[in-house]
């Protein structure tokens, strides 16, 4: 039998090595015709342990702007929430929809101020009056503006799918239809889920598009692909003799 740590030892190891919850992660985004598609896996880890099998890595910034986050889970969550709140006040003040450049600037200023100590690597995407936009933002505050991007530990696997594709599928090309782009993003995230230990479980997608009338709509498709369902499962929950069953948690599939 290989030597295994007791639960107490694991916890002690976690706190002593300061292994706070990181998102491991594969996140990516692509520009398509009339919009952007963002994708993310749903595994969050603390060292070698999976902390959340179905966490949400695509964060709301504005009705027309969403942001995927890799790095320290708390940092990505709080940073995006802060900037989302600031964008809302900005909307009230200016009486206009938020622009992606505004959110990008607020995020980079914040991250640069903390000199990289806020460990948030973001993929920011949205559609505004000036069209669709896609950026990566690094923890130190630098940015890239590209037609397709990937971040996180699974980014190498994802970017190869976006850049090159595989035997049966093409990589990114300009002016893709929305559903083609969704398919491409799903394959990129899959590559990360199955080839990177820091990423796993399911695929979340967010599609942000502008129609002919100029109206922007965001379609947040949570768990669009349950790539790793639980294989074996009891049909009926275990019946404890004197405990009343109130509700069955549907997430038992994860």
């Amino acid at each position: 039998m290989p030597k295994q740590d007791t639960p107490q030892q694991v916890l002690a190891g976690l706190t002593s090595k300061n292994q706070f919850t990181k998102t491991g992660t594969t996140i990516c985004g692509v520009i398509c015709k009339n919009g952007v598609v963002l994708g993310a896996d749903t595994r969050s880890t603390a060292g070698d342990i999976v902390m959340d099998k179905n966490c949400e890595k695509i964060h709301y910034i504005a009705p027309n702007i969403y942001c995927c986050g890799a790095g320290t889970a708390a940092d990505t969550e709080y940073t995006t929430e802060l900037i989302s709140s600031q964008c809302k006040l900005h909307r009230y003040r200016t009486d206009r929809d938020t622009r992606v450049a505004t959110a990008k600037t607020m995020l980079t200023r914040h991250l640069f101020q903390y000199q990289g100590h806020v460990s948030a690597a973001l993929v920011l995407g949205g559609v505004d009056v000036l069209g669709p936009h896609l950026h990566t933002i690094y923890p130190h505050g630098s940015t890239d503006t590209l037609p397709f991007v990937a971040m996180g530990s699974g980014s190498l696997a994802a970017i190869s799918m976006l850049e090159q594709g595989d035997a049966d599928h093409q990589g990114w090309r300009p002016n893709m239809e929305v559903e083609e782009a969704v398919d491409l993003v799903k394959r990129a995230i899959h590559a990360g889920i199955f080839n990177d230990m820091g990423s796993g479980s399911n695929v979340d997608i967010c599609v942000i598009t502008k129609d002919e009338a100029g109206k922007v709509a965001a379609d947040y498709r949570r768990n669009t692909d349950i790539a790793n369902p639980r294989k074996y499962r009891r049909d009926v929950p275990y019946k404890l003799p004197s405990t009343r069953l109130v509700e069955v948690n549907g997430d038992m599939d994860m």
């Binding site: 802060l82 709140s85 006040l89 009486d95």
Partner: protein, 239 residues
């Protein structure tokens, strides 16, 4: 307030008279009564806020004037009195709403939004070198406790109303409202009564360009302003 020269601005400009009155606050209320009429009505399923938007000149770009303002997803307000002062309060109300939401993870109740405003307004009656705000706000919104309508005054007091009017002609409006407002009003009825009430005291023929209407319904809990087309439709449907 810190940073001021200790001699020149350390004392409050709002001081008691021997009879126990705070003159500056009374004068502020006079400024409110000089302002254009604003009306608010609470129905069982929502709130309506209406104000008169009379432009001093036909050359003014009407769409730039915004008197009915959103404070939070579920709260809006309208003012009577000095517009510039109300802008400061609106900005503060919006920020406090977001601060509350970030701190507690849920939208503030309408009463909390109103009380935060009154706290600010009161502090300007008891601080060095500042004057009270020259406007009253009608704050209306929907929260888990239902719809509520609050009036906040330059003194810093807040009153919850079933229906009320502020600004000039408020007395006439309130008499009109007392007769027409009932507990079982629907939001649609409330909009009509508010516009009728404004029509009563409006100098001339009331059209959509002369008023602003904000509504919030318990159905979606989102405050929004009615478009000119919607207001015209409502006015056409009156009487």
């Amino acid at each position: 307030m810190s940073g001021f020269d200790s001699d020149r601005y350390s004392f409050s400009l709002t001081t008691f008279s021997p009879s126990g009155k705070l003159g500056q606050i009374d004068h502020a209320l006079a400024a409110v009564n000089n302002g254009s009429t604003s009306i608010g009505i609470k129905s069982h399923d929502g709130i309506v806020l209406v104000t008169e938007r009379k432009l001093k000149s036909a050359l003014i770009d009407k769409d730039s004037i915004k008197k009915v303002q959103i404070l939070a997803d579920n709260v809006g307000c309208v003012y009577s009195g000095i517009g510039a002062d109300s802008a400061v309060l609106v900005r503060s109300g919006r920020k406090n709403g977001e601060v509350y939401r970030r701190q507690f993870g849920e939208n503030p109740g309408v009463d909390t939004v109103a009380k935060d405003l009154t706290a600010k307004m009161q502090s300007y009656t008891q601080s060095g070198g500042v004057r009270p705000f020259g406007c009253s706000l009608l704050v209306g919104g929907v929260d888990p406790a239902g719809p509520s309508l609050w009036q906040v005054d330059p003194s810093g007091s807040s009153i919850r109303w079933k229906a009320t009017a502020i600004g000039k002609n408020s007395r006439t409006c309130k008499t009109f409202l007392e007769k027409r407002v009932t507990p079982d009003l629907s939001l649609d009825d409330a909009v009509k009564i508010a516009l009728l009430s404004l029509k009563e005291v409006f100098d001339g023929l009331l059209k959509a360009e002369h008023c602003e209407v904000g509504i919030i319904s318990t159905e979606d809990g989102l405050f929004r302003k009615m478009t000119d087309a919607e207001v015209t439709e409502q006015l056409d449907g009156l009487e």
